[in-house]
């Protein structure tokens, strides 16, 4: 019986490790795509060739072509940069500002705390994508505005997690001990509270990259994205919708790439969470 238990455990961990490696590999692939698109994709994404329009996937055009004869694979590879930049930057901005608000809110006295938290409550009443729609509708479509919109929408989530962490760590024995030694606020925050409350924020930020990309692709699907020569993944997907009956691949593959990327990011985030808190490894 014991032997059986052992074997199952090993099988489980083997399975999750290989899944993790696969996810990491895929993320790496996308990152490489965004840096060296020309080396990965053979066809130019800008070359329109009416004679090649709406070709099904083949050896020459791995994922088929769109209505202008552009290679879908090239479009995805070249579009990855934009999606990635939006995802990462909006997490950095939203997470950074949210983290700061959470830190101040959790560390400072009750009045500041409730003031900040009420503001976060108010921001939260406007669901992320709505906030993003509003901001990009006002500011007009551009990559920067898209990033700003997604950042604002994700801000309260980070602020709340950070605040919870800080409230928790603030009461840890070593913070009290440091206070009794005579260290100042800055020292306690910088050396004790911040380093120990960051890990859950990093988990959230990892998963947040996925969520930001989902939100951003949703926005460009609605036409609030960027108008560039090379469309990003969301816009590509919305183009595909109109050709669903004749060329399923235009809509299918960009969506597949978005999903795979977000899944990979989530697996990575979950693994990191389990690493931090082995108790939740079972779940």
């Amino acid at each position: 019986m014991i032997a059986g238990l052992k074997k199952k455990n090993r099988r489980n961990s083997l399975w999750s490790v290989s899944l993790l490696l696969l996810s990491a590999a895929f993320i790496l692939f996308i990152v490489i795509c965004s840096i060296f698109p020309d080396q990965i994709a053979r066809h130019s994404p800008e070359r329109m060739n009416p004679s090649d329009a709406l070709l099904a996937p083949s050896l020459d055009h791995l994922l088929g072509t769109d209505q202008f004869g552009r290679d879908i694979f090239s479009l995805i590879v070249h579009g990855s940069q934009q999606s990635l930049v939006i995802g990462v930057l909006s997490v950095l901005i939203g997470g950074g500002m949210g983290g700061l608000i959470g830190l101040v809110s959790g560390y400072c006295n009750h009045a500041w705390d409730s003031a900040f938290m009420r503001i976060m409550d108010i921001i939260m009443t406007i669901p992320g994508i709505m906030m993003a729609i509003l901001v990009s509708a006002i500011l007009g479509p551009s990559t920067l505005n898209l990033i700003l919109a997604v950042s604002i929408a994700s801000l309260p989530g980070y602020a709340r997690v950070m605040r919870g962490q800080v409230l928790h760590i603030k009461d840890a024995g070593y913070v009290h001990a440091s206070k009794s030694i005579g260290s100042g606020h800055a020292g306690r925050i910088l050396f004790h509270i911040l380093p120990n409350s960051l890990p859950p924020m990093l988990v959230m930020a990892t998963i947040g990259v996925g969520n930001s990309i989902l939100m951003a692709t949703g926005l460009s699907f609605l036409g609030l994205g960027t108008v560039h020569e090379i469309p990003d993944w969301g816009y590509l997907l919305s183009l595909g919708r109109d050709y669903l009956t004749v060329a399923w691949w235009i809509g299918f593959f960009p969506g597949l790439f978005i999903s795979l990327f977000v899944i990979s990011v989530n697996i990575l985030g979950d693994a990191y969470r389990n690493y931090l808190d082995p108790r939740s490894a079972a779940s």
Binding site: T125, I126, I129, I138, L222, G240, R241, I263, V265
Partner: protein, 309 residues
């Protein structure tokens, strides 16, 4: 009773806050409505734009505009649409029904699917079924719902000709959009239920129940589930908000009428009052649902109720 009243007061406060927030986003962000409306070909700061500004009342001080807007709200006046000069409220009410129908039916899909899969996943923890469900829920939360919508249309309408892909009105037309929108929520709920069941089954009182000879099934159905559902209920309000927002995209995919379509069209026409109004609508819904969740929470969990006595 006192609690409900104070909760209501809080809700009104938050709604006022979000009205203010949206107002200031619209009016303070550097984007200029008049310039936006005039279009790209009109150069900034020309006579046309000044005229437009005057017409829209945008030349008045910000605070006056704000007071005006709030005063209007009390009379049910959410402004007039730039595009066709209709009152915003009428347009919103016209489109509210289909969106609510879609949101509620997606909620239904999400809760039922999430509950069943979550329980199964927890009961068969670390078995094959659990693995499959976990992968499915991961896909559910990671896949853009507009893409799921497109796939559903492609499979069920284009390939199998089973269900209509677009439009609204009939029940059949509601099926695909609800599934498309519900899957994301189902993924979230599945993970939530699974985690909270596993957490609840580690509670020390479960050990003492077993020690008293209570059967596995009774422990699961009566004690663990009751315990596990409490945290899940608090998430319902959040998920509702996500669904409401997700309907914007889903309605576009399935060419359904509704708030979402209204917003998307408004984006094209730069019809800010409509966008502003729709967002206020969703905010109000969000706050109300969360208030209901909070109040019902107190009936589900005696600890909260009695702690305040």
């Amino acid at each position: 009773m006192l609690y409900i009243l104070s909760r209501l007061g809080m809700a009104i406060g938050v709604i006022w806050g979000s009205i203010t927030l949206v107002f200031f986003i619209v009016n303070v962000l550097p984007g200029d409505v008049a310039t936006l409306l005039a279009g790209d070909d009109v150069p900034t700061e020309t006579e046309t734009i000044h005229q437009l500004r005057e017409e829209l009342g945008l030349d008045r001080p910000l605070l006056v505009q704000y007071m005006d807007y709030i005063a209007g709200l009390f009379q049910g006046d959410l402004g007039t649409s730039y595009a066709n000069s209709e009152p915003v409220l009428d347009r919103l009410l016209d489109n509210l029904g289909p969106t609510l129908a879609l949101t509620l039916s997606s909620m239904f899909v999400a809760v039922i699917l999430g509950l069943i899969l979550g329980i199964l996943s927890a009961v068969y923890q670390n078995k094959l079924l659990d693995g499959i469900i976990r992968v499915l829920s991961l896909i559910g939360v990671s896949t853009p719902n507009f893409w799921i919508g497109i796939l559903l249309i492609w499979i069920f309408s284009v390939q199998l000709h089973l269900l209509p892909s677009i439009g609204n009105g009939s029940f059949e037309q509601l099926i695909l959009p609800s599934i498309g929108l519900g899957i994301t929520g189902a993924g979230v709920i599945t993970r939530l239920i699974r985690n909270s069941i596993l957490e609840a089954s580690n509670e020390p009182f479960i050990r003492s129940l077993r020690g008293k000879g209570i059967g596995q099934r009774a422990i699961l159905l009566k004690h663990i589930l009751r315990h596990a559902l409490i945290p899940a209920v608090t998430m319902l309000g959040m998920i509702f908000g996500e669904m409401l927002a997700g309907s914007v995209v889903t309605e576009t995919v399935f060419s359904r009428q509704g708030l979402g379509r209204l917003i998307v069209d408004a984006i094209d026409q730069k019809d800010i009052p409509i966008i502003q109004g729709s967002i206020l609508f969703t905010a109000v819904f969000y706050v109300c649902i969360n208030m209901l969740v909070d109040i019902s929470y107190r009936f589900i969990d005696p600890r909260i109720r009695l702690n305040e006595k």
